[in-house]
Symmetry: C2
Subunit: 390 residues, 2 copies
């Protein structure tokens, strides 16, 4: 995969993992518009602190990302290691350190392994090529079982414009900024302010609608660069902007979906479609409470059409509704009507045996809705997280 | 076990479980003060609706409790079955139906098995005796692995006064009203209003400080009856009230602790002691976010002294603090100082191998604190909840 105006590469730097790519670089051939969104946690990792400041400048050249070490709760030394990392990239690639955004994912606490990182950066720059975005996408993974990438193209002013993205997710995925690293590239030309607005709007429709375990990390970052190398005219408004938004949102939604499907140990991908809430706030609360309830998520795993657990989650969500007005469909099966079992348990159970389905809840209390993607809690979630560091 | 003025019994009614006690009755020998606290869920089970109205009257005679069926989301028929159950008890025991509070725990949705319940009630009344509170305590269990009872006594006016309680917990334990059934008895004499105030205050210090999975049920109920049969003077204020409060709070705290220790599949009992928050609200939020975080709870299970996960939970909790001012002790081990690892990981890991320990977090941001009891997420949590109904 390639996007015009960008080179990329990945190497095994052996920061913490051994013998697998754990360090990736994307380099724009010339300075270009960029933007970023970052975790809302009070405990921000050093690369988040670094990149938030850089993103504000609006122009830059490179994304450097590593897996295995989060460089979070690492204090002044952690921040210094960010500067040194950016300087290493700048020195080898011929750009200013301030033109490098950083992202890390992995264990919180330990200092970045600079002894391993320093010699790896020149190798990384030497390996840069136009067709290695998939390598980058693999280098950012931790407990993910597969890389997550998506791309969309459209025609603009006689040129082909592409939006591409990759992400890592797995645990700590929650709807604040869904915890993850995400990187978007486009060869369209846009102003940084517009890029940031589209990124924020798209995140709200995609990553902020995904939950794996309700936890949010110290390292959440979503970044975008626009090279303009497609040669298409600058996108400002009108139909061109609509086309770009559609492409960008499609990419972000696809990545969010891949994150939910690959939740740690997940065997099910469930869309919680909440309708009929009295307010938007209540719709979000109700959808999120169902999507994050451990008892609902274990019932998904157990393939158990257990209305009681959904009722329990809705009841404590803060939404106001009449429990005897609730209708629920599982895919097309009218499972619950007026808060009571509709005699379709066998068909409902058959839906729950599918790897992917829609849980459509209508509170019948108003016009507001919210959709969330979630997955189940399996034995493997416990296994993975009981021993993640070891 | 016995408390003066009360008879009790349990039988196997085979409502849903077979061949084990699933129906319990406590009968006061004469009308006495009572009070109740109930779930804050919008979806209230039929027995909760019934008992809340009865509790308001302030005087009553009996608690009837069953396990296996929740009688929740059962509509008008569910409410009618409550009335019929109370009438059955009233008819057999010689009291008014309105003098019977009801509590149910189990699967949500199905109607109460009245065919099994109706013939069981006369057997239950026939079995009543002064020494069968432990039988009652066993009849209310679902996935609990052991009964939970506690008792305290003190001298008042030359008489011995007793407070006794039993509870069932396991899953759906969260700090709203910690989801559970709880029954308290005393042979002291108190006005219903005072009884209710003590119940509410005690719940805030005990059951509302316990979390197993952050879920809250449709059936949470905590009830108390005071027979006055000890012969001690009525408790109104002063030293007598202090003695009673102390005894009642001790019983409630013990039951809450037993609930946390017996959380579904739990292998660890962890006290999260949060100190140094800027406000009481932030202290509660921070303690609760740590105590409920799935990633923290799986780390407890994995016996992994992983500061990163606690940092992550604190960071997203809504509390405001400097991440580099945080101190954390595991029992007496000074594990984290100023947000950084204090070089005591081996000792910290040794604490986490214990079945029970204190996680003492000081945000160093103010004078407020909050303590919560929690447990770990184990493979068994998933097994139990993936197949609870089957």
């Amino acid at each position: 995969m390639s996007v015009k105006g960008f080179l990329s590469a990945a190497v095994a730097a052996d920061l913490r993992y051994h013998g697998r790519p754990d360090l990736g670089l994307i380099l724009a051939e010339a300075p270009c518009s960029w933007a970023g969104l970052f975790t809302q946690s009070v405990c921000r990792a050093a690369p988040v602190i670094w990149s938030r400041d850089r993103a504000a400048a609006g122009l830059g050249r490179a994304f450097l990302a590593n897996s295995g070490q989060a460089n979070a709760q690492t204090g002044a030394e952690g921040e210094l290691n960010c500067r040194r990392s950016a300087e290493l990239v700048g020195g080898a690639a011929g750009c200013a350190p301030e033109e490098v955004m950083l992202a890390s994912t992995g264990v919180i606490g330990p200092q970045l392994n600079m002894k391993a990182l320093a010699p790896a950066v020149p190798r990384l720059v030497a390996a840069l090529g136009p067709d290695r975005l998939d390598d980058f996408a693999r280098a950012i993974l931790t407990t993910d079982t597969r890389p997550k990438t998506a791309g969309e193209s459209f025609d603009l002013g006689g040129r082909r414009v592409t939006v591409w993205g990759c992400a890592k997710g797995s645990g700590m995925i929650a709807p604040h900024l869904a915890t993850m690293l995400g990187f978007l590239l486009t060869d369209a030309r846009l102003e940084p302010g517009l890029l940031r607005a589209i990124l924020a709007e798209g995140a709200e429709l995609s990553f902020n609608r995904v939950t794996v375990d309700g936890d949010t990390s110290t390292n959440d970052s979503l970044m975008i660069m626009a090279s303009g190398a497609s040669g298409a005219p600058e996108i400002r408004s009108g139909e061109a902007l609509e086309k770009f938004r559609l492409a960008a949102f499609t990419v972000m939604k696809s990545l969010a979906r891949q994150i939910a499907r690959d939740g740690e140990g997940a065997t099910k991908l469930v869309t919680v479609r909440l309708r009929g809430a009295a307010s938007e706030e209540e719709a979000k609360k109700a959808a999120r409470t169902v999507a994050e309830s451990p008892l609902v998520k274990t019932a998904f795993f157990g393939q158990d059409a257990n209305w009681g657990r959904i009722c329990m989650a809705l009841g404590r969500s803060g939404a106001v509704f009449d429990p005897y007005a609730v209708d629920i469909d599982l895919d097309q099966v009218p499972w619950i009507r007026n808060g009571l079992d509709n005699g379709r348990e066998e068909a409902a159970t058959a839906v729950m045996k599918k790897p992917e389905y829609v849980l459509d809840i209508n509170l019948n209390a108003g016009p507001h809705g919210c959709e969330m993607l979630t997955c189940d809690y399996s034995h493997d979630y416990i296994s993975i997280n009981g021993s993640y560091r070891s």
